[in-house]
């Protein structure tokens, strides 16, 4: 056998592989995921257009009725719904399934990368994206005259709270992606979006919800998340009367609701991750 002249020796540098460290792992995985987002605008644009479309459509159709019947500002009441629509269900779970199917996930698992960052890196990218999606929706609201009690800080809390909700929701599609490795199942996880977002105070304030819907809404974390978000907006709660600029009880309930949902969804995702990398 002869050595090819075309191949220069590569002995100049000997490097030593080592574990990169937990946060470097998370950052490396997140970097790749974030880089991919603008390369697939087809996945992001609907997530932005759809909520703004429905927001404008709903307030156009229902503002007058809401105002005349109950005397509240529908555009303020519906802005949290629009943001929740924008941030719920946006994840890298489909991309993860592609990685699992084409074997790239195995290539990652063969490296010294810790297992948890394989998921946390993707979630970091998701959080970045959903907050980026919430901002233009809020801007549309502001342009239409919606005002926040606590000014800029209120807007920041609004966006961050929505973003964290979006993040904990991703636990479900990730759990399905890691458990099944099946793109169809991941797409079907979108169905979960409907009961969670609609069996709640999505279109009318809680006192107006009657019968079974009122009962279901009482147990739906979305009710408390919307309540917390609305408490940040002037006239957003849909209930006439004086409102505090910072309602600690409402915000606290929203945080608890997100935490409770997250405890379940993220546990499922972590269990599924463990199963996927268990080397069974």
């Amino acid at each position: 056998m002869t050595v090819s002249a075309g191949h220069a020796p590569t002995t100049a540098l000997r490097v030593q592989a080592r574990p990169a460290g937990f946060f470097v792992d998370v950052a490396s995985v997140a970097r790749r995921a974030i880089r991919q987002i603008p390369r697939e605008p087809e996945a992001v644009i609907p997530a932005l257009i759809v909520p703004i479309f429905f927001y404008v459509l709903n307030i156009g159709a229902l503002s007058k009725i809401a105002h005349q019947a109950a005397g509240f500002s529908f555009k303020s009441f519906e802005l949290p719904v629009a943001v929740v629509f924008a941030v719920t269900g946006v994840s890298r779970a489909s991309a993860l399934v592609t990685d699992i199917q084409n074997g790239y996930f195995d290539r990652l698992v063969i490296t010294p990368v810790r297992r948890l960052p394989l998921l946390l890196g993707l979630m970091t990218a998701d959080l970045t994206l959903v907050m980026a999606l919430a901002v233009p929706v809020v801007i549309v609201g502001l342009a239409l005259g919606v005002r926040f009690h606590a000014g800029v800080l209120g807007i920041v809390v609004f966006v961050v709270l929505s973003g964290i909700w979006g993040l904990v929701f991703t636990g479900l599609p990730y759990a399905i992606a890691l458990k099944t490795g099946n793109p169809g199942a991941v797409n079907a996880s979108f169905i979960l979006f409907f009961p969670i977002t609609f069996l709640s105070t999505t279109f009318v304030p809680k006192p107006y919800l009657e019968g079974w819907l009122g009962t279901v809404a009482n147990y739906n974390p979305m009710t408390y998340i919307l309540q917390g978000l609305r408490s940040l907006i002037v006239g957003g709660s849909g209930i006439p009367g004086p409102q505090q600029s910072w309602n600690a009880a409402f915000l606290g309930q929203a945080v608890l609701a997100i935490a409770a949902f997250g405890a379940i969804s993220l546990s499922l995702a972590l269990l599924a991750l463990r199963g996927r990398v268990r080397r069974s």
């Binding site: 590569t10 574990p19 390369r39 074997g103």
Partner: protein
């Protein structure tokens, strides 16, 4: 004695009732190129996945760089580079981004990463395409990038699972050259699985033949080919009867007769002298002969002798022009008085009689 780079003791893996790998003992020295040869489904990939820490053995154990793959997978991962079957890449990154991510996950600092990317790119020729999205790459380019990704952290031991399956001959030759160059310039131990005989023959210092989860033979390509005799006579016939085989076995100088379908393979030490008696025996047995070929043995003949079936469907359909024989392969044992290293393919090198 230096520690082997890879060693397995009765390593086995079960899926349901099926043993994909049914107990394999291997010992591969540092710096060796070991070719693991077998057809689809023989258990090659399962063994590689166990040695690469992707899958636990059901039984037995595997040591890579002296480390137990089941007990110390994290340490094993630092020492090995892996290119799995079907180039596992991400279409939506550029080649350079993929290599950089790989370097980050192996804990390389920025300066080392940049330098290593340049180095592996010198070894694995991808050209300016390295800054394009991987989805624009050809199959051969993907394989080369996959190889580069496996090398970014300068591993001691490289696993290549069917590195050239599905590649055109030119790309295949390029990958072979890169593999050889790595082994010779860096002393990298290479464990290569393949279903191509010529690949094992061309690259490997030693070859293990796997069939149905078991290692059925092991040795240098020359040693293995010697086990089937110096020459091989292949007769394609219209119908095959027990009488035909009996009369062939009775021919003086014939060592072994193996029949598959419409094909009889006769092993002999001196094929040139046995050729005519074999033809006469076939005629006397009333067997209609489609073609009769004399050539040097290939690893497929070894496989056929050991398992009773050909390694590849497309291998040696008529014993002549077999893709199993790579023209000019160095160290081919067939360079004796009859035929050449590429007997059966080169005109005049083989005596071929077509009825």
């Amino acid at each position: 004695m230096p520690e082997p780079a890879i060693a397995t003791e009765d390593i086995a893996r079960q899926f349901g009732d099926f043993w994909a790998v049914a107990g394999v003992d291997l010992e591969i020295a540092a710096g060796e190129i070991y070719g693991f040869l077998g057809p689809n489904g023989a258990g090659k990939s399962t063994l590689v996945r166990m040695l690469c820490t992707l899958m636990r053995p059901t039984r037995g154990r595997g040591l890579v760089a002296g480390l137990d793959v089941a007990r110390e997978p994290e340490k094993v991962r630092l020492r090995i580079g892996v290119a799995l079957q079907d180039a596992a890449l991400d279409d939506r990154q550029t080649g350079r981004e993929l290599l950089d991510l790989q370097g980050r996950l192996y804990g390389l600092r920025r300066a080392d990463r940049l330098a290593r990317v340049e180095q592996v790119l010198r070894l694995v020729d991808i050209g300016t395409a390295i800054d394009r999205l991987i989805k624009t790459y050809s199959g051969g380019m993907k394989r080369r990038l996959d190889l580069a990704a496996a090398l970014i952290h300068d591993p001691d031991i490289l696993f290549l699972d069917e590195p050239t399956t599905g590649l055109d001959p030119e790309s295949r030759a390029a990958v072979w050259e890169e593999v050889r160059s790595l082994n010779q310039q860096h002393g990298t131990t290479i464990f290569l699985t393949t279903q191509y005989l010529e690949e094992a023959d061309e690259l490997a210092d030693r070859v293990g033949i796997i069939s149905r989860g078991r290692l059925v033979a092991e040795g240098t390509p020359d040693e293995l080919k010697r086990t089937v005799g110096t020459d091989v006579i292949v007769a394609r016939v219209e119908t095959l009867t027990g009488t035909t085989l009996e009369s062939l076995r009775a021919v003086p100088g014939v060592q072994e007769v193996v029949a598959t379908g419409h094909e009889v393979t006769v092993h002999a030490d001196n094929g040139a002298t046995v050729m005519s008696p074999v033809a006469l025996a076939l005629h006397a047995a009333g067997t209609a002969v489609v073609s009769l070929t004399l050539r040097t043995p290939t690893l497929d003949d070894v496989f056929l002798q050991l398992t009773g079936s050909h390694l590849q469907v497309d291998a040696a359909p008529d014993g002549g022009g077999s893709p199993a024989e790579h023209p000019g392969s160095a160290g081919d044992p067939g360079t004796h008085d009859v035929g050449g290293p590429d007997a059966g393919t080169a005109e005049g090198a083989a005596e071929e009689v077509r009825a």
